[in-house]
Amino acid sequence: MASIERQAKILQHKSWGNYHRLKILAPEIAEKATPGQFVMIRINETFFPLLRRPFCLHHCHGDEIEIFFKVVGQGTAQLAEKKEGDFLDIIGPLGRGFSLPEKPDKRPALLVAGGRGIAPFVFLAHELKRLGQSMIIFYGGKTREDLPLIEDLEKNGFNLRLSTEDGCLGFKGLITELLEKELPSLNPACLYVCGPEAMLVEVARISRTWRLKAEFSLEARMGCGFGVCYGCVWPIRQGEKIEWTRICLEGPVFPAEAIAWEMKR
């Protein structure tokens, strides 16, 4: 069950250009959160912006949660102005997260992230590590600036595969191209995927071709985050039927085969 933390204190704010990471004291949320879940943050007390904004739980330890975000509009721009010691009003944890292996698989899990899609994977990677599950993180972006977390991830001993579209770092091209190139030698246990929609579509095709178990973290504009507005729907297969399904409640994580891509415009 979700909590509302009205006075969650920002303990640390780290920035890399357009990317930001906030470490926030939110014990009630931290206690219950699992990787892949998200929070709804009230940016300020005015009506600008009016609605809360959704963010994945980037990390969670002790009494603290972290979010990692990219500035794309007014809400995220204002959030980027927040300072250590400021307070936020946060609802969470919300939604259903990634499924975790019951016992470690010898084959690696692959975490596939496009740009800010890396957000949920730091929490997930630490959890998989704790469970003894090996993994490789595929982390791609347009250019070097879109991959600000490389150093942190390397410091934590995670195994990375990097790509940039301009080739200034790692493989030159899309992360999905790198993934497909490396797949034959990897024999993975499963894929966890988060990134822009075009990337998700491509990974969905790859996972189908290779018959790989894959889970996708989806995004939509959210009015509430807790299931009352029906604004956040994706076409999801429920048995024979395809239904507009609230991703805030039943997701945001779904198995690849549940998503009816043919219904997306």
Binding site: A2, F47, L50, R221, V228
Partner: protein, 324 residues
Amino acid sequence: MPGRSSFPGRSHRLGDEKVIDLSCDLGFLRLRNPVIAASGTFGYGLEMAPFLDLNCLGAYIVKGLYLQPRTGNPPPRLVETASGLINSIGLQGIGLEPFIETILPKLRKYSAPLIINVCGESDEEYGAIVERLEKEQGIAAYELNISCPNVKRNGLCPALSPEATYTVVKLAREKSRRPIITKLSPNVTDIVSIALAAQEAGSDAISLINTILAMAVDVETRSPLLANLFGGLSGPAIKPIALRMVFQVARVVKIPVIGCGGIMTGQDALEFLLVGARAVEVGTANLIDPQACPRIIKEIEQYCLNRGIKKIEDIVGSIILEGI
């Protein structure tokens, strides 16, 4: 009147001697306070239970119900605008029988009055839904959402004309022993004539306003931001329009008026009471803060406390118009 329930009003004891009576009389129903959760922003009620005690509400209105399940519109269904939200959910819903089977029994555990938002693709559907619900316990009233596209009226909704409003309300009235609230659309030229038609047809109360027809465009892609092209605007942006319409209607109709549109705070709610609303509905505010309703109730109470007002009903319609 048979089948009409009344709930005891509750007085709030604050401090030592101050007692404020927040209860409000809708004629057919006494609410413990004037704050009602608005349809479509409160799910089927159960989704909100983790966040607040439903029983603290004056009443709550569940998501609009049709006879059949509805798929709703394709996404994107939401776009935020200056102090507002445009939605084109398209009344996605589980349909009447699944509601009765799976949700209604759970809602009966709460004492706050449950109001059902009744939708219809045809005039007759309103009557059919009401007729079926008459067999069920635990419903305090119906709110007719006459802003639904009507297949037999070229897709236009009944709320757009006094005649269609009269017809729909009458059909529901004939099937119902319970109170009927008719919810008006602001997308009309003469709101008063529609309100009078609803009253004439036997509506027990009027609620207004539903959302305002709106659109938003993306200059990067040159395309509309909602897949459905148009949607309904709600939130603080619409409050002045809602207030004007509530004022116009409340001074003319004899039945109680419930004000709605952009209420975010106790002060907003009080503005509606001042222009003549007996109670208010809170919509978009629930999405931003699931505890908005209890907060608004407290803020109304605090206003009364600060000004020595003992009964919230003394505020209703007390706007001072001298010299205007």
